[in-house]
């Protein structure tokens, strides 16, 4: 079975919520829609206090190219436009909407029938995607229309659909592939048309056999789509590793996937593209996995963007008793929350309850030079070296040792028998190096 060659680790999967049918989280009393979902500029608010909005109405206009539109996920009255906490604890402008009823825009097609025919041209599709505010739903939330716009002089040859979902615990993409296989395949054909490519590869890890079977069944109906089962190995869902696993090509250092002729999209993004193009529905909801070892009923839930996490927790039966830490996202790359008063953003893929016995870090011991981190690193870096350079704040040396190539997958910190906080120091170094770069450019 195919997989990437350098590094990677095998982790226990704990896919506790696998096969749980998606349920819908009811609407909260108030939603807080962040205007910044990604590493770009915040959108410009298009509504003001007291305005009535409908579901799907534009409330934030993209500011510049690397930015995405934001639409109202609920109908109701705009309470205020103010700064709200994001998962990092920093404040960003958000739109607070008091929910009144559930009144959708008339232009959105709510019929369940799958619409196969797409008459739009490539540029029209990309324009439609940009208007619908679609961002990469795998977690990085990079605006999709930017990814689909191929830079001049380069050519996309193959579309890669990321169904790997290599993070333990998370099952939101898995469940989507089971329930919306037909729609995803239509989405793939739309993306192929947008990119003008003849071939698409869907990479799914072999621990999701039922999803592979379902997607294969629907893929047969269209030409040029191939479903490739992959070994279960972390971090296969990372763009560069997935490209290597599926095509055998390695993205050059500092390069983009399109340098090797590939464009990668997540399955959830593909589904959002289908809904935007065929049903005229902007990105206003997503599936999140709520799970944890001590949870009685882990599951997958459709949640409107902007729903406070406290509301989600309430709906799924409250916080399990022995919880010591709550993580937004998966256990490897997710982020521990300091408060549940944070809204679901476009990139929130899961909510994970970690029991208090496992919530704390273990005691940090000395590096024993076992080089496990070197073998685990999927980018071929030397994490132990980068950490010791980071401790001494030797940023230039860190840059020479390619710290900026780090994809922050956390394999090194996970595998370290001395529990050393390798990734913490590397991340810190990356920020410092980027700051130096920005300062020297000015």
């Amino acid at each position: 079975m195919k997989t990437f060659k350098i590094g990677g680790i095998y982790i226990e999967e704990y896919k506790l919520s696998a096969g749980e049918r998606t349920k819908v989280i009811t609407l909260p009393q108030q939603v807080v829609v962040p205007l910044r979902h990604y590493a770009g500029k915040p959108s410009i608010p298009q509504v003001k206090r007291g305005d009535f909005v409908k579901v799907g109405q534009l409330i934030g206009l993209a500011d510049g190219f690397v930015s995405a539109n934001v639409h109202s996920p609920v109908s109701g009255k705009v309470a205020k436009i103010d700064n709200a906490l994001d998962a990092y604890g920093y404040k960003y402008p958000s739109v607070f909407i008091d929910v009144i009823g559930d009144d959708w825009l008339e232009t959105i097609d709510l019929t369940p029938e799958v619409n196969h025919t797409c008459e739009l041209t490539s540029s029209e599709i990309i324009k439609k995607i940009a208007e619908s505010g679609i961002v990469g739903l795998g977690g990085a939330t990079f605006p999709t229309h930017v990814k689909l716009t191929i830079p001049a002089g380069k050519k996309a040859e193959v579309l890669i659909i990321n169904g790997a979902e290599c993070e333990p615990f998370l099952t939101c993409d898995h469940q989507l592939m089971l329930e919306k296989g037909e729609e995803i395949i239509v989405g793939v054909t739309i993306l192929m048309k947008a990119l003008n490519v003849k071939k698409a590869l869907i990479g799914i890890e072999c621990n999701k056999n039922d999803a592979i079977i379902n997607i294969k069944k629907w893929a047969k109906t269209e030409e040029g789509i191939e479903v490739v089962p992959l070994q279960t190995k972390y971090p296969q869902g990372c763009e560069k590793q997935l490209i290597e696993a599926l095509t055998g090509r390695r993205v050059p250092r500092g390069g983009l996937p399109v340098d090797v002729g590939a464009v990668v999209q997540n399955v959830a993004t593909t589904f959002a593209v289908y809904e935007a193009v065929q049903k005229n529905k902007p990105l206003i909801e997503r599936i999140i996995t709520v799970t944890g070892k001590s949870m009685s009923q882990p599951g997958n839930f459709w949640v409107r963007i902007g729903t406070p996490l406290s509301h989600v927790v309430e709906q799924v039966g409250g916080i399990p008793e022995d919880t010591g830490k709550i993580v937004a996202g998966g256990p490897m790359m997710g982020r521990a929350l300091f408060s549940l008063e944070v809204a679901v953003a476009k990139g929130t893929s899961g909510l994970l309850f970690i029991p208090s016995t496992e919530a704390y870090r273990k005691k940090v011991e000395n590096c024993i030079r076992c080089s496990k981190c070197v073998f685990a690193c999927p980018m071929g870096l030397e994490p132990y070296l980068l950490m010791s350079l980071g401790e001494k704040m030797l940023w230039e040396e860190m840059q020479k040792n390619q710290a900026l190539d780090c994809i922050e997958c956390g394999s090194c910190s996970f595998i370290c028998p001395s529990h050393r906080p390798l990734l913490d120091y590397i991340k810190n170094g990356k920020v410092a190096i980027n700051n130096i770069k920005i300062n020297s450019n000015n």
Binding site: Y88, G89, D424
Partner: protein, 288 residues
Amino acid sequence: MNVILISVLSLGGIGALSALILYFVAQKFQIFEDPRIDEVEAVLPAANCGGCGYPGCRAFATACVKAESLDNLVCPVGGAPVMEKVASILGKAATTITPTIAVVRCGGSCEYRPRVNIYDGVKTCAIVHQLYQGETLCSWGCLGFGDCVTACTFDAIHINPQTLLPEVDEEKCTSCGLCVKACPRNIIELRQKGPKSRRIYVNCVNQDKGAVNKKVCTVACIGCSKCQQVCNYDAITIANNLAYIDDEKCKLCRKCVDVCPTNSIVEINFPPRKTKTETSSNISITEQ
């Protein structure tokens, strides 16, 4: 006999020849170094802290000797006495230095700014700052992991275990500015030490709206501008919901300390006030 003579002569000859070559080489490639650099370096504190902006005391001494005037050259560690000595060696006019001290502008101790979560990762402020807002709900204030303590080469700043905030040792602080650079949240500022080490400053850097930061910290500046109105010397400015006292304009009258509703303006090293009626007479004394 012959053997001894030949050895002595040949070795002596080689020695003499080498000496000659060395002499000419030394003449040819001689580098003239101003002897005053050594003299200046001798009076500098030899802390090599870099507070002056030069890599070590030697580099600073060289810069002093080369510079036409000592206007922008100040050794923060040595202060005025050292700079006067340097000036007398070089025969240049010494710049007048107002003594400064590092001031930690955060009053959010555990009592006023409760800890709401536990951080058990790497205990350095730089990493916590880029990770999230910290153990309290204030995203501006002190994180309390002591990057400033690590940075200080004079052992002059320490975390107080009661308040979990750094405290500056006035005797030891040389205002070299290493802690200012180390703090990722720019809380530490070099301010004038003031007469008899008396000074007044806003003990907060929170730029959120008053309603927001009052919830997370009871001693946060809420930007109410009461201090600005009461100040007779135009020393207080309000920007981004935060008051700032200009230490050059401040006359230490302490009126702002009295009116501040959240006690975020603090006075240091003032004698304790006796009663309310006597405060006015106190002010006139300090103004002189």
